[in-house]
Amino acid sequence: MDLGGIFPSSVLYLLFAAILLLSAHQMFCKRKAPSSAEEFGIPQDRWAASLRLNSSYPEPITKQEIAYSVTRVWLGMILMYAAGAVSALLGIGSGVLKVPAMDSALRLPIKVSSATSNFMIGVTAAASAGIYYVRGDVFPRVAAPVALGSICGAYLGTRILMRTSNERIRTLFVVVLLVLAVKMIFAALRGDNSGGGI
């Protein structure tokens, strides 16, 4: 195994691992933080009000509606753009970058950001999958069982998400971020262009 100098892809992987570790640290510190921006006394964001982003969601455990408000919409747009670009560049799913971005920058509740990220990635994945499908790059024999398994897993995961506490979700996400960061560092050290099937 010979490093042979710094390949650009290795630098990208290291950078990505750094971003993942930073996101993990941010989410770890926020585990016990209050989930509403109003508790900080932050003034209403003009863009959030005009785009009607503030809303509420029902919490199954305590059976009440939890209202949330969104702040720093401009920062969210920049981060979402960067997440999409990086994920397309490295071939990694963008949810890993989007959920911490929504959690820290926009200060959404973790369940809302997780569900929103799911929907966003569904739309973008459908767009690119459509392109591949029409070009004939999709093998139905392989894709169909994978898709079926993913659908069942996602359905079960959504059910579990509704019943789990916010803190546990954040902790699980921190673990996933750390594992991915380690994988990224290994990919950077290997010096090849594969993302290790992330």
Binding site: V123, A126, A129, G130, I131, Y132, V134, R135, R141, A147
Partner: protein
């Protein structure tokens, strides 16, 4: 109205899964020749349905926003549709671009 949209995604995923499961079951009987192509077609139908579902949802949302005369959000979802369509066109009509 929101319930129709949510139901579309959920039941659409179920229908697509049904087609794919049917295709997988039929592919077990590979030796019977008509069933082989039939199974491949079933799989293809299921996959195509699955891919089209989120795009269909965005299109429906655009229609709902127009019905509610919410022109700002209709413009936003229309822009999303436009971006998807642009990527689609670039992919199909430009074979020089290599997607890895």
């Amino acid at each position: 109205m929101e319930r129709i949209l949510a139901g579309l995604l959920r039941y659409g995923a179920l229908v697509a899964s049904g087609w794919m499961a049917l295709g997988m079951v039929l592919s077990l009987f590979k030796d019977v020749l008509p069933l082989k192509t039939l199974s491949d077609r079933c799989l293809a139908i299921g996959i195509a349905l699955l891919i089209a579902l989120p795009v269909l949802r965005v299109a429906l949302m655009t229609g709902v926003f127009l019905l509610e005369k919410d022109y700002r959000f209709a413009a936003i979802s229309c822009a999303v549709l436009g971006i998807i369509a642009l990527g689609f066109l670039l992919g199909t009509f430009n074979p020089q671009i290599q997607f890895h």
